[in-house]
């Protein structure tokens, strides 16, 4: 059954913004699908609201719509583009849900669009708990006992029957949202209520607990001729009870006999056939009782998933690409295995190494959230490591996380061991190691954790070996001992700490003893066939397979695991750097350890090294490849921290000199530079004591912004309005020392913040790519603020000043490539807040808005080309429409956390809205961000004194637009004074019915609540904001945000549903996708 010729135009639905549970793995899968289908001559139309993705690059599809993933906007795209088919399976749960919604709304029938990948009934059978259960029973597969409930009463009744604990899973929610484990009646009521609310169909599944059972996943593919294969088996280190996205996972499965594995394989294939997944990839999860071997099926996803991305990277088998090909009629045996070339894709990859994935959490950004893991996913990213053995892979994985934990930066407490082992939490692995160090036996740890004894033995052996290493010294260690340590995954820096020497001393001694890293290939076949793709990982084996070429080559350092503040945007830039290098005829070498990304796809770069981004590992690759240059400015903070050490080791960093990157972060030097250039900055100082900090703050005058001197995505920043806050912050929230003073800035209240991305070349020419005006005032982290291109309120004069300053700074820092500057504009004065001579988070957004490929030009500039070689544009790049970027927050995953915005970044992703006017673009962005603005209803206002005038004006406008107004007393008085009818309501703590009651009753459709920004929020504010998240009512916390919202609401009443493809906007006909 070859390629289908009855379809020509295929719509691909993306997965929208990066959120917890749905991250860049779907950029990877979507991009692969686009490429695969276009290579086959299909026209691809793409809709996705996330501008930071490779898949939304205009050359990846024939028509690219960065539009909301809602039925109405998708229907408009379908109406305009008339696709023949919709591929539903590569856009995660969001893509699947939208496909179902379009089908159910009759849109697909109306325009004759065929659902390919997974059909509607297959999706329903897999996603609907009850249908799934019936289907599995029909084919004789065992499941945990369960019952679907629509009321809390039924839930209690069923739980009483099967006994606690029970697992709750709301139907059709993402990443297990709203699920949990109930150990008693009280838990059950709480979780069930929330789950019923979050489920779009108001259903929750109550399930027999299989806590502590071994957990497995199989990645399965099937074609129309019913050929089916298992791509990869995955075993979870953490037993059942922890969401698989929050589990350390291992490929292949380690503790199954062939009999058990084949039983699982048979069950997975049966499941796929019964559900009716005709083509494509699916993921089936199983649990096995470690005492009896009873196996139950847990769930299946009839689409490409996070685990598929992991399995693809773990085996070298490109699941998403193959899934797309199968969806258009190909059979597995008609598709070639890219890696071996001579063998077909219809086989089961076998691997001769071990892969370990470790999630990365950021509970510290969500004070109030308990750092406990359960059935709801909380991790924001993950790192994958490949080693020849489990120990080697685990060691590499731990250091890939860059949490500092591998380096012993965390202190463990004896009295917490048992608690930390019993209840799954982000530090559990660290505590297991600590427990062994403290003499716990494997049996004791197994009893507390239920983790398989084989895994525990491995961890135990690592701990023992580390202890053995402390018995030798740098001078006395033998080659054999050194080799053993390296083969078991111990890092040079760990040895350096043990021996109290520098990591480079360890390196030198290691090389002296002839203990060198080599590189092995990921080849899908355990070396049975020759591999043609240089996809590599390091090991300490005897034979190096790297086979570097003698071409001119450049190495790109990626950004590692996703985290808040360092996400897909940087991977986007790295991928583009790679594409650009290839276009310029230079070999591109990618180094990264994030399995979710496009950058770790084996065909993105000429050569791929799947390695931790540490000095040790990067130097190993450098010494093997000997590249002509290394690019550090695209991967965010991760490669930047390596820039200076690499330079010192003689590595040629291309682009802006690392010394100048460092200078921009050095308070004193940078302050001096600004003085010389006569560019204003907020007054500032630094302190190394509590009292010192209070003194500085007093001198500067409140409010002040206080932060540590090393900053990662706005970690641990605070805006202090009084000395109390400064004092408490210094005492509790921050680590400082003589070397690491705390930085204190005068905080500019009510200033407008502006982000600038610019390019600069070796001749000193500067091109400003975008001047983005933030919607929220300065003080909200730039990553958490919506922004708009072009700016809507800045004067010509201000824009000219910004342009001048940007050019001056670029030249002064000898920037070659990209730079980002944050400004604050207050009363006509432009202040510089921060300069980052590197690619920023906004690069993809600006690129999509202007149609200019910024990273590509930046790479050209690093190679010595001039801006004028790429574009005739000078000054500031023009934009044709309004483009609003809005952040997306994970507050629904952290119940109880105050969702107010501040200087600490907390958004996980972003969306873009396009419009002919600002209001339209903002309305679309808000819809895409999952906080759609209402068309009608009641707006609740409560604002602080300085916002009251503006609030009254907004209330007037909203009344004209047909809204009713409610406000708390003070605000209501101000609104009433302006002649607008308003209802007064109690504050949360004043009496009842209060604002929260109205919220819960569903009678409020929009909240405008400007509190005392930055200071300690009052219980009232917190209650409002928390409930707004829970009841999904948009809550705007800044007055400038409110102004934007009102414009957006006006647009919704005025402007029709309309969409534009990037190709139309930028007047480009699509060149055939190069890649």
């Amino acid at each position: 059954m070859p390629r289908r010729n009855d379809i020509h135009r295929i719509l691909i639905v993306g997965s929208g913004p990066i959120i917890i549970g749905q991250a860049c793995e779907f950029d990877y899968s979507g991009a692969q699908a686009c490429k695969a289908l276009r290579q086959d001559g299909y026209q691809v139309i793409l809709i996705n609201s996330n501008p930071a993705t490779i898949m939304t690059d205009p050359n990846l599809a024939d028509r690219t719509y960065i539009e909301p993933l809602s039925v109405e906007y998708a229907a408009e795209v379908i109406r305009r583009e008339r696709p023949d088919a919709l591929l539903s399976t590569v856009g995660g749960q969001t893509g699947l849900n939208l496909s179902v919604a379009l089908s159910e709304a009759g849109v697909l029938d109306q325009y004759g669009v065929e659902l390919i990948g997974a059909k509607l009934d297959a999706i329903k059978k897999a996603e609907d708990r009850l249908l799934f259960k019936d289907a599995m029973k029909k084919i004789g597969l065992d499941l945990p006992q369960s019952q679907l409930v629509t009321t809390v009463e039924h839930a209690l009744e069923f739980a009483a029957r099967i006994g606690y604990p029970v697992i709750l899973r709301p139907s059709f929610t993402m990443g297990g949202s709203g699920g949990g484990i109930a150990y008693n009646r009280e838990d059950l009521v709480t979780i069930c209520e929330l789950g019923l609310d979050l489920s779009p169909v108001h259903e929750v599944l109550i399930e027999e607990s299989v806590l502590g059972w071994k957990e497995f996943e199989l990645e399965v593919m099937r074609d129309q001729a019913d050929n089916a294969i298992i791509v990869c088996s995955i075993e979870n280190f953490d037993p059942m009870g922890v969401h698989t996205g929050d589990s350390i996972t291992v490929a292949p499965a380690q503790t199954l006999t062939d009999r058990e594995y084949q039983m699982m394989r048979d069950a997975a294939l049966k499941c796929l056939r019964e559900i009716g997944v005709d083509t494509g990839g699916s993921n089936v999860q199983f649990a096995i009782d470690p005492d009896t071997g009873r196996m139950v099926i847990v769930e299946m996803n009839p689409r490409v998933s996070r685990s598929s991305a992991l399995a693809s990277k773990a085996t070298g088998f490109p699941i998403a690409k193959i899934a797309a090909k199968l969806a258009v009629g190909y059979r597995l045996d008609e598709i070639r295995n890219d890696i071996t070339r001579q063998t077909p894709a219809c086989f089961e990859p076998t691997i001769d190494y071990v892969v370990v994935k470790i999630p990365r959490w950021q509970f510290e950004k969500f004070p109030g959230a308990e750092p406990v893991l359960g059935t709801q996913m909380k991790s924001v990213g993950e790192a994958m490591a490949i080693g020849r053995t489990f120990k080697q892979a685990l060691g590499k994985g731990m250091r890939s996380l860059e949490t500092g934990k591998a380096d012993g930066a965390v202190t463990y407490q004896d009295d917490l061991i048992e608690a930390r082992l019993i209840t799954p939490n982000p530090d559990r692995l660290g505590y297991i190691r600590f427990a062994f160090e403290r003499g716990y036996t494997e049996e004791q740890v197994h009893t507390l954790t239920s983790i398989d004894p084989w895994f525990l033995r491995q961890v135990r052996e690592m701990v023992d070996l580390e202890r053995d290493m402390s018995k030798v010294t740098l001078g006395s260690i033998t080659r054999e001992q050194f080799l053993r340590a390296k083969r078991d995954g111990i890092s040079d820096s760990k040895l350096a700490r043990t021996w109290k020497v520098g990591p480079l001393d360890v390196r030198a001694r290691r090389k002296e003893l002839g203990v060198n890293a080599v590189f092995n290939r990921v080849d899908t076949c355990a070396a049975e066939f020759e591999s043609f793709t240089p996809y590599m990982y390091s090991s300490y084996e005897s034979h190096c397979e790297a086979a570097p070429t003698d071409r001119k080559k450049v190495m790109i350092l990626g950004s590692g695991p996703n985290r808040i503040g360092q996400g897909i945007e940087f991977d986007y830039c790295c991928c583009h750097a790679s594409f650009a290098l290839q276009e310029f005829g230079i070999e591109s070498i990618m180094v990264n350890c994030n399995p979710e990304t496009v950058s770790t796809d084996y065909d993105t770069s000429d050569r791929l090294y799947f390695e931790p981004l540490t000095l040790e590992e990067v130097l190993n690759i450098y010494e093997t490849e000997k590249p002509d240059g290394v690019i550090v400015q695209f991967g965010g903070q991760t490669p930047l921290t390596l820039a200076l050490p690499l330079k010192r080791a003689g590595v040629p960093i291309i682009g802006t000199d690392p010394m100048n990157i460092d200078l921009a972060e050095d308070r004193k030097l940078f302050g001096k530079l600004l003085d010389e250039l006569n560019i204003p900055a907020p007054q500032n100082g630094s302190a190394t004591t509590v009292e010192g900090a209070c003194d500085v703050a007093r001198q500067l005058g409140y409010p002040v912004l206080v932060r540590p001197s090393y900053v990662l995505g706005g970690r641990a920043m605070v805006i202090a309005y009084d000395e109390d806050t400064v004092r408490r912050y210094m005492q509790e929230a921050v680590i400082f020392s003589q070397d690491r003073p705390v930085l204190i800035d005068r905080f500019l209240e009510d200033a407008t913040e502006v982000d600038v991305d610019a390019l600069a070349d070796t001749s000193g020419a500067v091109l400003i790519a975008g001047i983005m005006e933030h919607i929220e005032e300065a003080g909200v982290h730039s990553g958490d603020s919506s922004c708009v291109l072009p700016s809507t309120s800045l004067s010509e004069e201000t824009l000219a000043t910004i342009r001048t300053y940007t050019e001056q700074l670029a030249r002064a820092l000898n920037v070659i490539g990209l730079m980002n500057i944050q400004y604050a504009v207050k009363e006509g004065t432009v202040y510089v807040l921060e300069v980052n001579p590197r690619a920023s988070r906004t690069v993809p957004y600006v690129g999509k808005a202007t149609g200019v490929p910024l990273p590509k030009i930046a790479v050209g500039l690093m190679l010595g080309k001039k801006i004028s070689d790429f574009t005739a544009a000078t000054g500031v790049l023009p934009v044709q429409q309004f483009f609003v970027k809005s952040p997306v927050f994970p507050f629904n995953k952290f119940p109880g956390v105050d969702p107010s915005l501040g200087p600490e970044m907390r958004s996980t992703g972003e969306v873009m809205g396009v419009g002919e006017n600002f209001g339209e673009a903002f309305a679309k962005a808000q819809l895409s961000a999952g906080t759609p603005l209402p068309d009608k209803g009641r707006v609740f206002f409560t604002v602080n004194d300085r916002d009251k005038l503006v609030a009254a004006a907004l209330a007037k406008r909203l009344t004209e637009l047909g809204f009713e107004i409610t406000a708390t007393r003070g605000t209501a008085n101000a609104i009433r004074a302006a002649g607008i009818p308003v209802k007064t309501v109690f504050k949360y703590n004043e009496g009842r019915p209060n604002a929260v009651d109205l919220l819960k009753a569903g009678s409020i459709s929009l909240i405008i609540y400007t509190g005392t920004t930055g200071a300690h929020a009052f219980a009232d504010e917190k209650a409002i904001r928390r409930n707004a998240v829970q009841y999904r009512v948009p809550c705007i916390t800044t007055i400038s945000g409110a102004r934007a919202a009102v414009e957006a609401i006006a647009s919704k009443g005025r402007d029709p549903i309309r969409v534009w493809s990037l190709q139309e906007i930028h007047g480009t006909t699509t060149a055939a996708a190069k890649r």
Partner: protein, 375 residues
């Protein structure tokens, strides 16, 4: 930990740690790429005369258990792995892999770069080797490898075959309370199985699909087989080179046309020889559980389990009499054929799996259908 050495005839030497029995053994060094199923590999008599390298780096994790053996004892000469687990973790395990191999006299070398070894064998072809846990004199060991007997031309099947005829009536055993293997079908047929090194799962599958089985030694005469009044004859898998098995090929030639015949692996090769074909040695063989085989009759691809170093040359077969039914999609080698005029069919790979996927279990049903036709 004691040292162990694996020395190849071409002078390549791997040094590692010793597990298993403290002995020295010679054999042909071959690699298997299956991720699971090491116990089945250890105990498959087809590995007789071979030192096996497993590409999965973590071996021994789930120990060994009574039900997963494919014969009475391990047949591999030695085992080479990247990391051997002294601990076993699985509810079915009754001993560690270490104990299992030690008690059965099999030496293990662990900690070696198995990938480099596989790359070497892939490019140079399989070769003789010595695995020693008692000597570290690498020069001497290489010499011993050079002097060890070659597998080519050797009749290993007779050596591993049962000496006495016996009856087998045990069906499949579930590996878990969740596995429904079902009761064996009513025993309507009598199958005589030639044991050239037969795996137990073949016997279990035959029973499961409705046969009682009489297992006979490799040297049994055709007349004696027919005297047992079988409904069908099964030709088993087994070790080594098929070419010296001229006597067996002669017996099989006599059986063709008299009774339905089903052959697996060495049985397939013997059938090929019996029907006038030729066999040849593959450079490094097929050993693993992931080979795609196209069933040319159904058009479906089966993921199959393999263990063979020799193959039947399809060009040597008379296609007027023989229809090619199965082909390997990796290297286009012959994987199965049937006779156009007689109820005779065979496959080169292992439909009984153990270890490996169950995609080809249907072949046992096909055998039953042939026997039904003969009733």
């Amino acid at each position: 930990m004691n040292p162990a050495v694996l020395a190849l005839e071409d002078g390549t030497v791997f040094e590692g740690q010793s597990f298993g029995a403290p002995v020295e053994r010679t054999g042909e060094v071959v690699f298997n790429t299956a991720i699971t199923g090491y116990q089945e590999v250890f105990t498959d008599p087809s590995y007789s005369g071979q030192i096996v390298v497993l590409t999965n780096p973590q071996i021994g994790n789930y120990g060994a258990n009574e039900n997963d053996s494919e014969s009475a004892r391990p047949y591999i000469e030695g085992l080479a792995v990247r990391e051997f687990s002294p601990l076993s973790s699985n509810w079915r395990s009754d001993q560690t892999a270490q104990t299992f191999l030690t008690n059965n006299g099999v030496p293990v070398i662990s900690g070696i770069d198995t990938r480099a070894l596989v790359l070497h064998l892939r490019s140079r072809g399989v070769m003789r080797g010595v695995l020693s846990s008692i000597s570290t004199d690498t020069k001497e060991l290489v010499e011993r490898a050079k002097k060890s007997p070659s597998m080519n031309g050797l009749d290993l099947a007779t050596r591993v075959s049962t000496k006495e005829q016996y009856a087998w009536d045990l069906g499949a055993i579930a590996a878990s309370p969740s596995e429904d293997v079902g009761d064996p079908a009513e025993a309507r047929f009598h199958v005589v199985a030639y044991d050239f090194g037969i795996k137990r799962n073949i016997l279990r599958m035959l029973v499961q699909s409705g046969s009682r089985v009489t297992v006979v030694p490799a040297g049994t005469k055709a007349e004696d087989v027919l005297a047992l009044k079988p409904n069908g004859v099964f030709l088993s898998n087994g070790p080594g080179d098929p070419e010296p098995l001229t006597y067996q090929a002669e017996q099989v030639r006599k059986l063709v046309g008299k009774t339905p015949i089903f052959g697996i692996c060495l049985g397939h090769q013997i059938l090929g020889l019996a029907l006038g074909g030729k066999t040849y040695k593959l450079k490094f063989g097929h050993r693993g559980a992931n080979h795609p085989v196209l069933n040319k009759v159904t058009g479906r691809v089966e993921i199959t389990s393999h263990n063979h170093g020799f193959a039947v040359d399809p060009d040597s077969l008379n296609l007027n009499d023989i229809e090619i039914t199965h082909m390997n999609l990796n290297d286009q080698t012959l994987e199965g054929f049937r006779h156009r005029n007689h109820p005779v069919f065979c496959v080169q790979y292992h439909p009984e799996a153990a270890p490996g996927p169950h995609d080809s279990h249907y072949l046992f049903g096909d055998f039953v259908k042939l026997m039904e036709g003969g009733k």
